[in-house]
Amino acid sequence: MHTEAAERLVPTPYVVRDAWQETHNVVSLELAPEGDGVLEPCAPGQFNMLWAFGAGEAPISASSVGASGSAVLHTIRQAGNVTRALCAAAPGDVIGLRGPFGRGWPLERARGRDVIVMAGGIGLAPLRPVLEHLETFRDDFGRVTLLYGTRSPEDILFRGELENWRGRFDFDVQVTVDTAVRGWASNVGAVTELLPRAVFEPERSMALLCGPEIMMRFCIQALRGRGVPPEWIHLSMERNMKCAVGLCGHCQWGADFVCKDGPVFPLDRIEGRLSVRER
């Protein structure tokens, strides 16, 4: 049954062109198709199913989509067997990849608006392509704000990129941690506490959120409090996924399959179910 449809379920070999440790439990892999394979472009917010031979697959959002035009970057936190095996990949290794899948961030709709990016922990990875897009097409957007929260200073991802963006006069970048350590002389607390300081016009803003659901729920409250309309708040959701093509049923959330109807959703579509436990 060698059909195009079947191929969507069979991984393609991708070479690990580079691999590096981002934090103590997060690794980035730069992946390029093996041989003369062609890279399928991955839009910001889309994800690939990454396969470690013998271990299994995990859905991982792209953390950079245009790094070199021929490679895609994935930033993976070790959470279980599969992600542990993926994080152990070394340059030159080959892993399997299926994708890209899903609907990404609606960057076209954000043109001309103020953009507020709120990320928690590993949630910064799916938003990094957004920030790179904003950087490249800076004039197309209004004010740009990045509010990022992690557990501790040692969990901060993409330090180089963060410092680069913070060095620009047209990016407002704020970082906070749940737990400070000696030497941390910056914000401590929830990421929502950074919002009151951010400057944006709520009526003509777009907010993009990715992080733990509890964090996103509080972000939504804070953003709604500032007057950002729900259709201009977007979230990247996470659910169990096996097939990534809307067949296996695992990622169902209300009438949506997170893998194909998401993972990025506008708040007005999902607001009703966001607060329903075990939905």
Partner: protein
Amino acid sequence: MGTQKSGTPGRGDGRRVDPPDVPGGAPASLLEPAAVGDLLRILREQGYRTIGPTLQDEAIVYDEIEGLGDLPAGLTDRQQPGEYRIEERSDDALFGYNLGPRSWKQYFFPPSLRLFAARRAGRGFEIEPPDADPPALALIGIRPCEIAGLDVQARVFTGGGHVDPWFAAARERAFLVAVQCAQAAATCFCGSMSTGPRAERGFDLALTELLDEGEHRFLVEPGSARGREVLAVLHPTPAGPAERARAEAATRRAESQLSRSVDGEGLPELLEAALEHPRWAEVAERCLSCANCTMVCPTCFCHTVEEVNDLSGERTERWRRWDSCFSGEHAYIHGGDLRPSTRGRYRQWLTHKFGTWHAQFGSSGCVGCGRCIAWCPVGIDVTEELAALRVGSDRAETAETEEAT
């Protein structure tokens, strides 16, 4: 597609070779019971694997049958919530029962299917050539609600974005010999789901077993060009108005025996509004979260994948296996299970089947076969649960209205 045995039936360029036409005008004809055996033989000669009802482990289940003798003649099934029993009939009916625990979905959506195999090669891997295509099946004795179930799954597996190649190929090749229901089990509720007890379309041949007044014959209606061709070989005798009338009477008898129903009016909206209804906690007290309902359901499609490695670690296979929203790993993501309670799982199953399914696939996910009622070990009855949710929700709405006024 892989290499094929020549002469495999139902092959084409990806489309049905002979789309079923409207059977309304097709003349019905009559066959003797022995001709059903001839039908099996002819279909097997044409390269079909004939699958039909057969008695196994005190239940009538679908499996490969070779001849008339494999059919459970003279038997019937008695069903109640949490109960299924085989009993003897007073006649020699070949199809004198309703439904057993196995639906036809096992042939289109196999319980275990290898998606691919791979072997380590250098620092990477090589994918091994894919498995063979599904066989051409003749489904003998598929019931009207089961044709509807197959249609529901076809919309899931081939109607949306991704087309499942196994399902599409198996469905395209399948030859459907339907049997119109002449009786209803106590668990049946096809009438209210508009899926039975009589099928008007979706089959190649449809049989109605005529058993009155010592007679034992079959009224046959072709539903497709393929069906007509096969029927012609059997040299049936034309059916007269009397036989047609008796076939209609058989359908009416089954209809009159239907004792359960689901009120589908506004059900998706009602369920969406009833997510915190106290009934969910109440049914969770009885539900064992055993997943039987999802296994016997002809439309449930959830599956998982498993990596199967050999001992050397050099070769791996990915298998797709049936899963259930009642299983502990269904909603697991790092850090925990998003749907850990039986209340949450039962609610997911029911609200999906009767509610969100409409938005996803354009119909209810239920065809009223009643298997989930019979095979629930504690006899939970979906029709009763839905009625209870409706009553409570009506009350809640009324209360709100009263407060407002």
